[in-house]
C-alpha cells in the first residue's frame, strides 16, 4: 500500500468515512469554496491612503507621495542622494520610460543580479490594514527584484491601495487568470530578532523599503 493510501485510509477510518457521507461532504466543500466565510474585519478608520502610510511607517518603511508620474524619477533620485546610495538601479520594464537619465540616474530594466544594490518595482496592490505591498511574480515582474537588492523602492498608485487582505484576494481573482507562482506581501525591510530578540533590519533581504505613492493616477 502506498503511503498516500495508508495515511488517507487511516484518516477515513477515524472519521467513519463511507460513500454516502463522502458525497455529501464533498458537496459541502464545493458549496463552501463557492461562498467562503469572512472572518471579522478590522475597521479601517479614516482615509485608506493615510492608514496605509501610517502602517507602513510603523513597519520601518519610508513613504512619500507624488502627484504625477513625471515626479517619480526625481523623487527616487532625491531619496538615493539623501541616503548616499548608488545612482544605479534595476527596475521592472513598465517603469523603464520614466525619465531616469534626466533625473541623473542609471536605471536598467533587466534581470536582477545578486550584486545589484537598488531595485525599483511597482505592486499589484497594497493593503492599508497592515501597510503591506502585494507583488505578483511574472515575466515582467520578477520576484527577486524586491528581494536581492539592499534597497527596495516601490511605486504604489493610490488607487491600488485596498483596505484589507480580503479585498486584495478579490482583486486577484478578478484581474488574474490564475494565481502567479509567487504572490508576496511585503511589509517593511527584511529583519531578524534571533539574537537576543534584538531587531536588526536587513537580514537577508532589503535593508530599506521606500514607498512612493502616486496620487491622482
Amino acid at each position: 500500500m502506498s503511503s498516500r493510501e495508508d495515511i488517507l485510509g487511516r484518516i477515513r477510518a477515524r472519521l467513519g468515512r463511507n460513500p454516502d457521507n463522502a458525497a455529501s461532504a464533498r458537496a459541502a466543500i464545493d458549496s463552501y469554496l463557492g461562498a467562503p466565510d469572512q472572518g471579522p474585519q478590522p475597521r479601517i478608520a479614516g482615509d485608506r491612503v493615510a492608514h496605509f502610510r501610517e502602517k507602513s511607517e510603523a513597519q520601518s518603511s519610508t513613504v512619500e507621495e507624488v502627484l504625477t508620474p513625471a515626479a517619480l524619477a526625481p523623487a527616487v533620485a532625491r531619496y538615493l542622494a539623501r541616503h548616499e546610495l548608488p545612482r544605479q538601479a534595476v527596475c521592472w520594464p513598465e517603469f523603464s520610460g520614466l525619465g531616469w537619465r534626466e533625473a541623473g540616474l542609471d536605471v536598467e530594466s533587466r534581470g536582477v543580479l545578486g550584486t545589484d544594490l537598488v531595485g525599483i518595482t511597482g505592486c499589484f496592490c497594497a493593503v492599508a490594514e497592515t501597510g503591506s505591498l502585494m507583488l505578483c511574480s511574472g515575466p515582467e515582474t520578477p520576484a527577486a527584484l524586491s528581494l536581492l537588492p539592499e534597497t527596495h523602492i516601490a511605486i504604489v498608485p493610490a488607487a491600488r491601495i485596498v483596505s484589507r487582505m480580503e479585498e486584495a484576494w478579490r482583486l486577484a481573482r478578478a484581474e488574474l487568470p490564475e494565481l502567479p507562482r509567487a504572490l508576496n506581501f511585503i511589509s517593511g525591510p527584511s529583519r531578524t530578532g534571533d539574537i537576543e530578540q534584538t531587531i536588526v533590519l536587513g537580514a537577508h533581504g532589503p535593508y530599506r523599503v521606500h514607498i512612493i505613492i502616486l496620487r491622482g493616477h
Binding site: 513597519q59 509567487a182 511589509s187 530578540q197 537577508h204 532589503p206
Partner: protein
C-alpha cells in the same frame, strides 16, 4: 535524562535565566499590544477555530482537494508516513535533479525527521538560512530551544565567538554586525543552491498553494532562486480558502512575535510560468503524517488546530523558568508537552504532561482556542491507565483512595498524621526536613499543622 533533571540544570544556568527574563517581557507585551489592534480578537479566534475544525473534520477530502489543485498547477504531491520516509522522499528528489546543495528555511517537520543528517549522509549539503537555525547548525547541529526563536537561550557573546571560529573572521561585538556577517556568508549559498526546502505555515485547498511567513526574507530566497522547491509540512496544515488565510494571518504574527504582520508573507502556487525570470521549475509537496493521522477524530484531535505560533510557551510559567531544551525534543512548552508524547509515544515522555501548572495561561492566549490544560490532564489520565506512573506514586494514591473510602479510618489516620507533623516541627511553625518526603523540603519549609484536624476543630465548635 528526563525533564525533571534537565529542568534543574536549566534553572541553575545564569545566562539562560537572564535571556528568558528579557525575552519574556518582549514576547508577552508585544503580543498584548498587537492583539489590541483587532476590533474583536475573541471573534477572530473563534473564526480561526471554526475554520481549522472545518478542514480537520473532513481532512481526507480537503487533502484530496488540495492535492488536485496543487497538481493542476504543476506541483508534485508526495506523502510520508514518518520521518524516515520524509528523508527518503527528499533525498530521492535531490538525486533526481542532481542537487549538490540545499538551502533551507525553517521547517519544524524537518527537525522532527532529522532531515539535515539524511541529506549529509547522501552527500548533499544542507544550509540552514534562518539566522537562528544557521547559528545552531554551525554550532554542531545544536537543537532549537523555541519554535520561532531557535537561539532564544544564547547570549550575543556566544554567537560572536562562534562566528569568529567558524567564519574565520574578526569577532564582531554588536548584533547588527553579526547579522550582516551572516548575511554575507549566506548570500552566495542562496545564489548557488540547486534546491530550496521550506516548511509551510498553511496549505490552501482552494488554490493548491503553500503560505509561508518569514521576517528575514530567507523563506523567499529559498523558494525563488533554486530550480527545485520542496515543501515539507504536516497533513494538518490544510485550510479551505484565501479568506480563511486572511483570518489566520491576523492571528499568527500577532500571537508569535507581536507583529501586525510578518515582513514577508508569500503564497506560492505551482511551478514558475514559462516566461518567468525566477521561481522554481519543479515544485514538490511532502505531506507528512508522523502521528497526525491517528489523532484525527479522537480525544486529542483539537491539538491538530495548532498553528505553531509559540504563544503558549511564551506565556507559560514553566517554560519561562526552564526554557525549551528542558523539554527534550523539537516542540517545547505546553504544545510540546502534548505533541511530544502523542508523536513519540506516551511512555517515552512520561514527565512532560506533568511539566505544567495547569494555570491555563496557554489556553487563554492560544489563537485557535486549543484547551491545552485539558489535553495535558487527559495525557496524565492515560499515564495512569497505562500504569506508567512510578510505583511509589501508584502505591501512595492507591492507599489514599482506599483510606478516603473509609471515613472512620481516614479520621483516625489524619488525627495521627497532624500530631506527628506537629511533633516533627518541635514547637516551630515550620518543618525543615519532612521525614517521609525529604525532597519536598530541599528548597522550602513545610508549614506545621496546629495539631488537630479540621474535623476535630469543627466538632469542638458545634
Amino acid at each position: 535524562m528526563h525533564f525533571k533533571a534537565r529542568a534543574g540544570q536549566k534553572l541553575a544556568d545564569v545566562v539562560l535565566q537572564e535571556n528568558l527574563r528579557k525575552a519574556k517581557s518582549k514576547f508577552v507585551d508585544m503580543r498584548a499590544r498587537a492583539i489590541a489592534e483587532l476590533d474583536d480578537f475573541e471573534a477572530t479566534r473563534e473564526a480561526a477555530k471554526v475554520l481549522r475544525d472545518r478542514t480537520l473534520d473532513d481532512l481526507d477530502l480537503w487533502l484530496e482537494r488540495f492535492e488536485l489543485e496543487a497538481t493542476r498547477r504543476g506541483a508534485t504531491v508526495l506523502w510520508a508516513k514518518d520521518g524516515a520516509e520524509v528523508c527518503q522522499r527528499v533525498v530521492d528528489i535531490a538525486r533526481r535533479h542532481g542537487v549538490k546543495k540545499v538551502t533551507k528555511s525553517k521547517s519544524m517537520l524537518s527537525e522532527e525527521a532529522g532531515l539535515n543528517q539524511a541529506l549529509e549522509d547522501a552527500g548533499i549539503q544542507p544550509v540552514e538560512t534562518d539566522l537562528g537555525e544557521y547559528i545552531l547548525q554551525i554550532n554542531d547541529n545544536e537543537p532549537p530551544s523555541h519554535i520561532i526563536a531557535p537561539v532564544f537561550h544564547k547570549r550575543k557573546e556566544e554567537v560572536s565567538a562562534l562566528f569568529a571560529r567558524v567564519h574565520k573572521l574578526a569577532a564582531k561585538t554588536d548584533i547588527e554586525a553579526m547579522t550582516r556577517e551572516a548575511r554575507e556568508v549566506l548570500r552566495p549559498h542562496f545564489l548557488s543552491a540547486d534546491m530550496g526546502i521550506s516548511g509551510g505555515n498553511f496549505l490552501v485547498a482552494e488554490t493548491g498553494s503553500v503560505a509561508l511567513v518569514t521576517n528575514e526574507g530567507n523563506g523567499r530566497m529559498v523558494t525563488t532562486l533554486p530550480r527545485v522547491h520542496v515543501v515539507v509540512t504536516g497533513i494538518e496544515k490544510v485550510i479551505p480558502t484565501l479568506e480563511d488565510l486572511a483570518t489566520l494571518m491576523r492571528l499568527l504574527p500577532r500571537s508569535a512575535t507581536g507583529q501586525s504582520i510578518s515582513n514577508y508573507f508569500s503564497l506560492l502556487t505551482g511551478v514558475k510560468h514559462a516566461e518567468d525570470q525566477d521561481g522554481p521549475a519543479h515544485m514538490y509537496f511532502v505531506l507528512v503524517d508522523s502521528g497526525r493521522a491517528d489523532l484525527v477524530g479522537g480525544e486529542f484531535a483539537e491539538m491538530l488546530r495548532c498553528i505553531r505560533c509559540g504563544a503558549c510557551m511564551n506565556h507559560c510559567p514553566v517554560y519561562q523558568a526552564v526554557g525549551g531544551h528542558a523539554y527534550g525534543w523539537v516542540y517545547p512548552g505546553p504544545m510540546g508537552s502534548i505533541l511530544t508524547p502523542l508523536f513519540a509515544g506516551i511512555e517515552n515522555a512520561v514527565d512532560l504532561p506533568q511539566a505544567a501548572t495547569l494555570c491555563n495561561q496557554c489556553g487563554v492566549v492560544c489563537p485557535v482556542k486549543i484547551p491545552l490544560p485539558d489535553l495535558l490532564r487527559r495525557l496524565r489520565e492515560k499515564q495512569v491507565e497505562q500504569r506508567l506512573r512510578p510505583t511509589a506514586e501508584r502505591l501512595a494514591l492507591t492507599a489514599w483512595a482506599w483510606l478516603a473510602r473509609h471515613p472512620a479510618l481516614y479520621a483516625l489516620a489524619t488525627r495521627i498524621g497532624v500530631r506527628y507533623l506537629k511533633w516533627l516541627a518541635g514547637g516551630e511553625d515550620r518543618i525543615r526536613v519532612l521525614g517521609l518526603a525529604p525532597e519536598w523540603t530541599l528548597g522550602r519549609d513545610f508549614p506545621a499543622p496546629e495539631g488537630k484536624t479540621f474535623r476535630e476543630l469543627y466538632a469542638q465548635k458545634h
